[in-house]
Symmetry: C2
Subunit: 483 residues, 2 copies
């Protein structure tokens, strides 16, 4: 037996409970999670407040908080059905576009997520020191892991890669703002295509997803811009290139923090007040023609954006997208086209977002490969579906409920269930002796199509009674003939 | 902007890189993960050794370890296909049996997993202190979360619950023994059925799973016993009831550690040497009749086991199961029937295991509800499939590869791809101008069924060229007629 290595919190009394038989281990001492104590002190409620540690009795210890940790979710069957419905659409659309599914560990080394730009996602890193004193983090996003895997695979893979993933991501926020600490994110990424066709394909796949779940172009749209717009502007204003990602992060906060603070932060990058004013003015431009007037017609920014809008027409989603210079996205690594999905009523946060990140791999020591991708969370879309009354009604689905009419026939019911399952029929087998009234109630709850009753007289003949629950039709049938 | 709260490791030089523009934040200091340093010092290799921290240059920092954290896995497309294949079988079988899918957070409060018995699973808890000083853990198993959710749901759910989950579980081992730190586990649980019909149903579902993936009763079997056997014996030897779980954990290690150590540990429970010898002798019994001779015919242990073997016959899986008194399983909470799946060649660890845990809920402060379930990991089964040469050959599957023959026709190709996708056809759209040779190579790699070429002359007519790749058949067709 190995010893347990745990940190000892000196303010808590060791629980002798655990020391009963541990002759081979050193005495074990545990720190009781503060939340547990707080929950117990509050009668099991879900208070987040930290109270002074009381002396714990064995009984106190047993009063576990029945809620999942703050900011996380359980998925009981009704919620899991919705999650599966959503994820299946993510996955089916990705496959429709010829993408292959991948995944990465939810726990990564912290270093993978550390970037110099001070993004929100990085400030909220859910990080720890593990028992081996390694700095690790629950992933806040999937792209860094993708980049790591692409570098690792090196020349063994043929470009372009078209990969998708649906994975849980974590962020740690000290303040509660009604936001959760975990969400699931659908990612699609194209690695190895420098052309804007890749971004156009990605937006097309999201549009296809929206259409499938009943969302139209009058419900949501995509704001599209390019980081190259900013890049060309900053060059003009003499801002050093290595501050580019930083400036993008600042600008991404325009709608979240006061404009004076934005100006202040931009000032620290060395931009003149005048340049800042001009920059902010350009960011309010909503027409590609106006932008062309400002930047001139020769730059990559304009060319990329024009191509994207032209492709959107060919893909058939022109009405979904619009140019908006204020869109820069809050991740440091984007280098070209950026886009975000928004609800046209303007009530919700961004539904999804993505863009081109041609220089991410070199920040990890790999050779750069042109790449773009998007992230699409599972939270805002569900809010939108709720708002539009488009949430699907999903019940349990079972074809048969099989029940013995006699305790002695439970084995026979098992035989019937097995025969049906062998034919690919789903069966909820009643495992106890229950009154028929109970069985009908259960059949209704699990939405069973048929009730199959195993009674003594019929069974002696190898037959069962079948009741089709929608029609009330009832008949006897040999088990071998039951389809 | 909020400050970042991170622990400062004084042995590392702060990286100025991060302090470029952080006027609003306090100076940021980071500890560089030791593994990263070690990896860099070893030329990027995957050494676990901890070396003295060198002074880091910005360049060093960028050399990220491209491997996933020690003991964890990436799932590139080929591995993800196998994972999906396996999980789909888990899920389809569960639904065939009328079970509903659920899930819980991968991160739980540590308290949920702390039990007094000193199980291996508990000693290997992957636990941390989070940034809010809460003790949290990556779940080592799913059952405690299930119990938490059942207590939380209380009277709002109708029993029995039949729930399944496929979730990632974690363990922290200091020593590497070729074992991973994470695995996925399929769980099926029945909450609210006191009868052995529930255990019989669970084993039936695993048998169905095995059959579906090509595993037969000559490849694997189930060893079955009941914790009540031990309970009745311990009562006879005067061992206090609250040491029961502890004794089970000790006995579970019989095949893993020397018998003298087992005897020693049992001695600490207060059992006499004589009683220990008798106990160990009973554990070697492999026949229910012999057990009945020892225990007498009136106890619950014998009755439960007899009923299970009788039901197995009705379910049709008698040849898969055998009585074996030595099976007790390594989790403290089991109270009745316990079982484990094993490979008949005896080369592998247990493939799966489960049993009845009628008293788990009260250990968390809830009212007890009879329950049973099993856990089935994703590691050993894959080893077994490999050994039997039963691993499926899974390639990417795409119906069409669509390619423009001319750079100017990339928009047209997008139109063609959209039309096909609208008809539910999967399309890998070639996003760059590539030579035909490249396109054929890619078509072969993605196992495309058809190659759809968009050429100038045909497209002016609204047509495309189609080549069926299996037959070599080639034809022109109007896009609107392309099915």
């Amino acid at each position: 037996m190995r010893a347990i290595h745990m940190r000892l919190s000196s303010s808590f009394r060791p629980i002798l409970l655990f020391d009963l038989v541990s002759s081979c281990s050193p005495p074990r001492q545990f720190s009781i999670p503060r939340r547990l104590i707080s929950a117990a002190a509050n009668g099991g409620g879900r208070s987040g407040s930290i109270v002074a540690a009381p002396l714990l009795t064995e009984e106190d210890f047993h009063k576990i908080d029945v809620n999942p940790p703050k900011g996380t979710r359980d998925f009981p069957p009704e919620d899991m059905r919705l999650r599966n419905w959503l994820f299946n659409h993510f996955k089916e659309v990705s496959r429709l576009y010829g993408f292959e599914e991948v995944d990465y560990p939810v726990l990564e080394t912290e270093a993978l997520f550390i970037r110099k730009a001070g993004e929100e996602i990085r400030d909220q890193l859910y990080c720890f020191e593990d028992r081996g004193n390694r700095r690790v983090a629950l992933r806040p996003e999937l792209t860094p892991s993708l980049a790591r895997l692409v570098i690792q695979k090196g020349k063994s893979v043929s470009l372009p890669l078209k990969w998708f993933a649906v994975g849980q991501c974590w962020r740690y926020e000290r303040m509660t703002r009604g936001r959760r600490r975990e969400h699931y994110q659908w990612n699609m990424d194209i690695i190895g295509v420098p052309q804007v066709t890749a971004e156009a394909e990605l937006i097309s796949s999201i549009v296809t997803f929206f259409k499938r779940i009943g969302i139209t172009a009058s419900d949501v749209g995509f704001k599209v811009s390019s980081r190259k717009v900013l890049q060309e502007l900053l060059k003009k204003y003499g801002v050093p290139e290595d501050l580019f990602g930083r400036v993008c992060i600042i600008i991404d906060k325009i709608e979240k923090i006061p404009i004076d603070e934005i100006k202040n932060e931009l000032g620290f990058t060395g931009m003149s007040e005048d340049a800042i004013e001009q920059l902010l003015q350009v960011l309010s431009v909503k027409s590609l023609d106006d932008l062309e007037d400002i930047l001139g017609g020769s730059g990559e920014a304009i060319a990329d954006l024009k191509q994207l809008f032209s492709l959107a027409e060919k893909f058939g989603y022109s009405e979904w997208i619009q140019f908006d210079a204020s869109v820069v996205r809050g991740l440091a690594y984007y280098t070209g086209i950026v886009f975000e999905g928004f609800d046209r009523k303007g009530k919700l946060r961004a539904i999804c977002g993505g863009g081109r990140y041609d220089r991410l791999l070199s920040t990890y020591g790999g050779d750069d490969i042109p790449a773009c991708g998007f992230g699409f969370g599972d939270a805002v879309i569900v809010e939108l579906l709720k708002e539009k009354d488009l949430l699907p009604k999903l019940g349990q689905e079972v074809e048969n409920i099989v029940c013995a009419l006699d305790k002695d026939l439970q084995g026979a019911a098992a035989t019937v269930a097995t025969a049906l399952r062998d034919k690919g029929q789903t069966v909820d087998l009643v495992l106890e002796s229950k009154p028929l009234k109970w069985v009908f109630k259960r059949a209704a709850r699990v939405n069973a199509r048929r009730l199959v009753l195993v009674g003594k007289a019929e069974w002696e003949d190898g037959s069962v009674s079948v009741k089709v629950l929608s029609s009330g039709e009832q008949f006897q049938v040999k088990l071998s003939d039951l389809e």
